[in-house]
Each structure stands twice: as C-alpha cells, then as structure tokens.
C-alpha cells in the first residue's frame, strides 16, 4: 500500500488558487506522518511557472496539454483518474470547490475509490491516516480513518493556514503525457465572463460591515451603510442578500464570492455557513451579531452578541459618531 499523498493543484487563469496551499499544508502533514512523499499534480498548458510556489511538495507531476489549459470537468477527470490508476496513492486531495467537486466523485467511481467530502483536517494517529469533515452547515463534525488502500478527499479551507502550504522554489517537476486520450471531450470551455465591475473591491477594504439574511429587508441596508460609512468601511454580504439582488455580486463574501482580509469584519445577521465562513478566514477581528446563539458564525468570531441587529445598528452608529467626535 502506498504511503504517498497527492494534491491536485487548482489554478484559474494563470494563478494558483489558495485552496491548493491549504491542501499542501494538510498533505505535508499527512505524508510526513505516513512516511511517504507529497506530490503536487498540476495540469495546464505552458504552465510550468505555476509550480514555483509549490515548494512544500516533494515533487510536481505536470501534464501539459491544450485540452487542460483551463479546467473542464471531463478532461481533468480523465487525466487525474488516469494518473491515479497506475500509481494508487494513499490519498488524493482535491479542493471542495467548483473544480474539485466536479471531478472527485467521477474519479472515485472510475477507480472504485471511496470519497470523503468537506474535510477540514487530516492527521495520522497510531500510524493510521484520519480525517475530520464538516457537515450540516458546519453544525456537525464527522471523523474516522481514511479507507485503504486509496482514498479521495475534498478539502475545505480553515483547518490550515495557507501560508503553511506555500513555499517558493519549484520542487522537481516531472512532465508526463496525458494518460488517456483527450479528444471527444463532452465538456468544453466556451469562455469566461468577468464579474461585474463593482464600485468597490471588498478584498482591499480594511473594515467591512457584512449583511446576511438577518437584515430582513432591502431598506435596512442603509443602516449597515451608515455604520460602514461612519467607520470608513464598506458593506459586503453573504449569499442570500446577493441572491435577492439587494447588492451586486462584487460584494459577495464567501466560496462563490471573495475572500476578504479586513482588520474588522462585522457579521450582521449572518449565520456563518461554511460557504461564507470560507471567505472570512483571514479577517483579523470578526464581530458577529445574530439572534440565534447557536449560529455557526460564533465559532469563527472573536466577539459576538445575540441582540437584534436592526436595533443595534443605529445605536452603534450613533455611539461611534460620538466617540469619533471626541
């Protein structure tokens, strides 16, 4: 049985996505615990430069082909499955993301390999590799052993600091030919559509007043806007608010939106589901206001209160104005 760990690198338009580094940090710990090698699997076209930050891995397996220049489920699934079939690594880590989730199950069925989803941390206990996964909106945790001899794992951010998985300097890069034919693909990339140019780039703001379902009405947004303005920040949002059309997608924080690193993140009426929590991992200080004391957001926040956010906002804005005036 192999002791090697693979991490499938996620790239998007010439950039390595952050989840890759989380996976490399996890993979490093796992490989070291098992006494195996950590290999980063990179697919792309003329993409060798992207290997330059994968130094945490022992080696990079690189498949270069026009058909995998950009992610498409069919091409990536065939390639990764083909690579894994021969090598049968102990664990293959993919992102629990728009890319990883598209292919993990298909690879699993093709290889007869089990799949573990939404994994947050991996470690080795008594020589056995173990997983901890998040489920039910972050309200429940499940843990167990990684099935033998091979297992696929899709990973969510949060269990590791991405900087722990990032190291300059490309490890040895082994170029391999695509293991299976990449013609007659059933899914092709037609093109990308840029997100609407928002008036603000929330990833560059240091203070965010973020609103969720608890804001209840479009009209109440102005309460958050006033608070944000008073603090010199801007308003961002979780998915339900953007889905209603009350704010543009450029303000969306979370898995499908942006990851933000503000000094202060006010989570106002946000429950804190994993998809949102992903986006605020790196916030310096999170203050959460939600009337549900069991809301998962309180697991990520430094400070919390269960008062009604609609009552709090005007009062807080007024007091801040006062404090700033002094």
């Amino acid at each position: 049985m192999s002791k090697d760990v693979w991490v499938v690198v996620e790239t998007l338009r010439g950039e390595v996505l952050e989840i890759t580094y989380t996976m490399l940090a996890a993979g490093r710990g796992l490989a070291d615990g098992l006494g195996g090698r950590l290999t980063a699997v990179l697919l792309g076209h003329n993409a060798v430069p992207l290997a330059s930050t994968l130094g945490v891995a022992d080696s990079v397996t690189y498949v270069d082909h026009a058909a995998v220049a950009d992610f498409t489920p069919d091409a990536y699934q065939r390639t990764i499955a083909g690579l894994a079939k021969g090598a049968a690594p102990r664990a293959v880590l993919l992102g629990h993301s728009s890319m990883g989730m598209d292919v993990a199950c298909g690879i699993g069925i093709e290889l007869g390999t089990p799949v573990i989803a939404a994994c947050q941390t991996l470690d080795v206990k008594a020589g056995k590799p173990r997983y901890v996964s998040l489920t039910c909106g972050g309200k429940v945790l499940a843990e167990g052993e990684l099935p033998e001899p091979t297992c696929l794992v899709t990973m969510v951010p949060g269990g590791y600091k991405p900087q722990d998985g990032k190291k300059e300097g490309a490890p040895e890069v082994t170029r391999v030919a695509p293991p299976t034919a990449l013609d007659d693909l059933k899914v092709r990339l037609k093109g990308y559509i840029e997100p609407e140019a928002g008036d603000v780039d929330i990833t560059k703001e240091s203070i965010l007043a973020s609103v969720g379902r608890g804001i209840q009405q479009r009209d109440n947004l102005k309460l958050a806007e006033e608070l944000a303005a008073t603090l010199g920040g801007v308003v961002s949002a979780s998915r339900p608010v953007v889905d209603q059309g009350w704010l543009p997608t450029s303000r969306l924080v979370g898995k499908s939106g942006k990851s933000v690193k503000p000094r202060l993140y006010l989570a106002l009426g946000i429950s804190g589901a994993p998809e949102h929590a992903e986006g605020i991992r790196d916030a310096e200080c999170i203050v959460a206001v939600n009337t549900d004391e069991k809301a998962p957001i309180f697991d990520f926040a430094q400070y919390g209160a269960t008062v009604d956010v609609l009552k709090l906002l005007p009062v807080l804005t007024a007091k801040i104005k006062q404090a700033k005036g002094n």
Binding site: G108, P147, K186, K255, V287, V315
Partner: protein, 256 residues
C-alpha cells in the same frame, strides 16, 4: 428537452441536531427532513427550462421519510411525473453512493436529455449525488451551475468560480448538471394547487434495486463542535453591547 430532477431529503438545519446513541450518526427519530435547498433550485431551473424549451419533467426521490408532499408540490409547480423509490432501510439514512446506485437503476426506462440536481446537499459526507450519478451513468457532469441554455444540440452551463468569475461550459447531452442557484428563486405554488395535485396526481412507486453503498468512508465518531472555541459573547441590551463594541474598536485603533 426531457429533464429528470432527483431530490434528496436532508435534515432541516433549523432544528437542533443530535447525535444518536451509536455516536456515529445523526438522531433521526425527531428529525425533520426537508428537500435539499439546492435540489429545490435544480427543480426551479428545470421548470424554467421546460417553460422555455418544452419537454417532460420527471422528479425522483428515495422514500427516506415524508416525501409525498414535496412530490405533489412538484406536480403543482409543473412537473409531469413524480417517482418515489422504495427501499428497505431508507428511513435510517442513505449515503450518496447508495442513493446514486439506486437512482441509476430507477432511471432505466425514463428517457432524458438532462439531469439537474443540487450541486451539493447539507449532509454530503461521501461526495455529492450529482457527480456520483453522472459517473455511474457514464455522463458528463458540471457543477456549481447558475444558468443553463440550449445551444447547438447541447447546453451551455454557467459555472461559478470564486470571486464572481463565471465560466461558460458547452456540454454535450445527455449530461448531469449540479445546480448552485437557479436563475430565479424557487417559486412558491399556492396551497390550493398542491391540494388539487394531491387529489388528481399519482406518485409512481418503484422498488429499489441493490443499493451499492461502498465508496463512503466509515464514520468513527460524529459530534457537535465544542463551544470552547467560540466567540466571547457580549451580554446585555443593545445600548450596552454598542458601548462594549465602541470600546473594543477604540482599543484596536479602528476609530481613528
């Protein structure tokens, strides 16, 4: 365009969740099961596609609990057929590997061009039903889809990436798409139409074949997260909370 929408029932997160005495699974006795939110989006997207392009819409679900009302509601919304798959032990919970194998068998004899299902569900631990079903059927899968249109004998799916970027993927049919969000919020159909469906429509029942649940990892322990890593809670009324926050902000130099 003939579409199939498999719906999975998941624990309602509005309720308190408890672990059962075995320590490896959720307590299901008092659990309220609801259709997975993204499966409702998948149904909505399917209804939109039916309105645009015509065709037959079939909704399938495993009989894991009180599923009938959801099926009749689907009829009231515009589905043509609803199928309930009966199987032993479904009420105790079915993992996605087993569910997808059951669905694969159940779909034999139902012609379709497209399968739409939620891109993931709240209690997915062994992958998601959509890609598992696609793999078993040997069909292409694209997930995180927020828009679908017909084009040149196939479909073009809008796939969401982080940061709001969208990729348009051309997909050959038949295929499976994992819906993240439909183009419109799931519609509300008035109760009188659901009641009418209950009187006039029929739920087709089929027996499940062998369920292949291999492919899921064993759960050694299931538990609720410890509150110890939680936030420092500020008690008191709005005024007090605001005062504390102002002090906090000042201490952190955020009131400059």
């Amino acid at each position: 365009m003939n579409i199939v929408v498999p719906i999975k029932f998941v624990p309602d997160l509005v309720e308190e969740l408890e672990i059962d005495p075995s320590g490896v699974a959720l307590e299901r006795t008092y659990m309220r099961l609801i259709p997975s939110e993204q499966d409702e989006h998948a149904l909505e997207q399917a209804l939109l596609l039916k309105e645009r392009y015509g065709g037959n819409l079939t909704v399938v679900t495993l009989d894991t609990g009180d599923v009938d009302e959801t099926l009749f509601t689907a009829i009231a919304k515009g589905a043509d057929r609803v199928v309930k798959v009966l199987g032993e032990g479904f009420a105790e919970g079915v993992n996605n590997h087993a569910a997808s194998s059951v669905l694969q068998a159940a779909l034999e004899g139902i012609p379709f061009d497209l399968i739409l299902t939620g891109t993931q569900a709240a209690d997915d631990l062994d992958g998601s039903t959509g890609p598992l079903l696609a793999a078993r059927l040997g069909l292409p899968f694209v997930g995180y889809v927020t828009g679908v249109k017909q084009e040149d004998g196939g479909v073009v799916a809008r796939k969401e990436y982080p940061g709001g970027l969208v990729a348009e993927m051309e997909v050959a049919l038949p295929a499976v798409l994992g819906i993240q969000a439909a183009e419109n919020p799931p519609r509300y159909v008035v109760t009188s139409l659901v009641m009418a469906a209950m009187k006039t429509a029929k739920i087709e029942e089929v027996e499940a074949g062998e369920a292949d649940s291999s492919g899921a990892a064993e759960v050694a322990r299931m538990y609720l997260p410890e509150p110890s890593e939680r936030a420092e809670m500020i008690e008191g009324n709005v005024d007090h909370v605001a005062d504390v926050l102002v002090t906090l902000l000042r201490e952190r130099g955020l009131l400059a």
